[in-house]
């Protein structure tokens, strides 16, 4: 009887087919993991042969089954970046460089422009005299947008804060150089205080933005007050800043318990928006009323001027969103935060902020908040 080794009997029986299947699964798993990181990979040989992963094709917006060669790759680069990046790749494939690392733009077939970070490394086989360039590519468009938002924010912040600072400095210098009568001095001091508050409001808006971005919930403070007076006080301040151009219409009794500070901030931001982007020689109308069904608090701010295009209407409610009507000015005026802050406050009260805009009817921002939101509040 032939003896067999027990160890040999326990060893798994890998056939060639099994081993290939196992290797294929390993390869698929590796590609899945790489794709999951958002890293697209391509491999280019010096004869122009091109291999690419699914994620690579997703980033470039190409059909995985379509033909895509080195020329197609160069064609996909943004015209302003094309020569620089293509020359680098050609230099690597010619053996003159060992790799490259670039952040550049690509243009997809549908015309959308994306930013990518591409980095390649060359490997060569001296025996076969072949060079292979392996390229990793990441879509960095979202990061680029964040960077650009941040830069714009810092530029706008410094610009906007310099105006109240400028007013504070000028008024303080006036007091120092020309102390005049009591009334003039009081006016000058009043302007200093007013501009300190103005700078503080800007900082408050900036902090609000940070809270919005962090997804933090607001905790509004309620107090017994007359909402008509709250809004009329806001408009008095606005008149001091922007001149006598505000009309206030209210219908109903508004003596009750309200989040006065939050409502004041919404009015301030909507009014400032209307002043910035509306026609300068027409009135700005502010309305306060209770809906016909007695269910909602309705506040609206209306201005005339260039209408906001339908495609821009959602954009301007986002932080840093600014429609063309605002961008037509020389440089960014304001941070584009005001409307996003109003929306965030409205949503805190389970309300809605809507916008209607046309050349004939003007631009109306309307806040609708269910009265039931406030009915359970006691102070």
């Amino acid at each position: 009887m032939k003896k067999t080794s027990p160890v040999r009997n326990q060893r798994p029986r890998h056939t060639l087919k099994n081993r290939h299947r196992f290797e294929r699964q390993e390869r698929d798993l590796t590609e899945f993991a790489i794709n999951a990181t958002g890293l697209g990979i391509s491999s280019i040989l010096d004869d122009g042969t091109f291999y690419r992963t699914i994620e690579h094709d997703r980033i470039f917006g190409i059909d995985p089954n379509s033909k895509f060669d080195l020329n197609d790759l160069f064609e996909s680069f943004h015209p302003d970046d094309r020569k620089g990046v293509a020359d680098e790749i050609k230099a690597v494939l010619a053996g003159k460089k060992t790799g490259y690392d670039f952040e550049h733009r690509i243009v997809r077939k549908d015309g959308t422009i994306r930013w990518v970070h591409a980095f390649g490394k060359a490997t060569s086989d001296p025996k076969l005299n072949r060079i292979r360039l392996t390229v990793g590519v990441m879509d960095t468009t979202d990061r680029k947008k964040l960077e650009s938002d941040r830069e714009m924010f810092i530029a706008s912040l410094s610009h906007d804060l310099r105006n109240p600072l400028s007013a504070i400095r000028a008024n303080a210098e006036l007091l120092k150089r020309y102390p005049r009568g009591f009334k003039e001095n009081q006016d000058t001091l009043g302007r200093i205080v007013f501009n300190v508050d103005r700078a503080d409001r800007m900082i408050q808006n900036m902090l609000d933005l940070a809270h919005i971005r962090a997804g933090e919930k607001r905790n509004p403070v309620y107090k017994h007050c007359d909402l008509k007076k709250v809004i009329s006080d806001s408009l008095k301040e606005a008149t001091l800043r922007y001149g006598d151009r505000f009309e206030f219409i209210s219908r109903g009794d508004f003596d009750g318990v309200w989040p006065d500070q939050e409502i004041q901030r919404m009015i301030d931001n909507l009014v400032e928006n209307a002043v910035k982007y509306g026609c300068s020689d027409t009135a700005i109308q502010v309305m306060l009323l209770i809906s016909d069904e007695n269910e909602d608090l309705v506040i609206s701010v209306k201005n005339y001027g260039n209408p906001i295009l339908p495609k821009d209407q959602e954009v301007i409610l986002q932080p840093f969103g600014r429609a063309k009507v605002g961008q037509q000015d020389y440089k960014v005026k304001g941070w584009g935060l005001g409307l996003a802050i109003v929306r965030s406050i409205v949503e805190t009260f389970i309300g809605k902020l809507t916008l209607q805009s046309s050349a004939a009817e003007g631009t109306v921002f309307k806040i609708v908040i269910p009265l039931s939101t406030f009915s359970s509040i006691r102070v």
């Binding site: 410094s158 400095r169 000015d329 020389y330």
Partner: protein, 139 residues
Amino acid sequence: MARILVVEDDPQVAIPLVAFLGLMGHLVRQASNGEEGLAEVSKEYPEIILLDVDMPTLNGPQMAYRLLIEDAGREDIPIMLLSAVDDLGSVAESIGTPYFLAKPYSFDGLTTMLDRALRERQPPRPRLSPLHQKIRGAA
């Protein structure tokens, strides 16, 4: 004493500026944007324009371009830019004026720059597009 036009959209900045210039003995008029500024220039040419950059309706550089393009004589009024915009030097270069002051400015800085501008009276020369250059060349 000089005839000065202040074009500034922020009344909080304009009020003390106009008051200071008045106390210095200048004759000061004020406009709230470029469009109003052009209207004031039409009424009477000032000796210098103190011009903000970022304003609604018609901004500072746009007003400077309009002064150059419309009616002979207006383009020789010196312009001094007073603004909080980033890189004000580049904006000043684009409208071709050597006089500019970044906000917040001191009254000493303002006086020095204003004295210089009134002494030199160098007119602005905005950079023109090839089309504008052609039109001006033909005229």
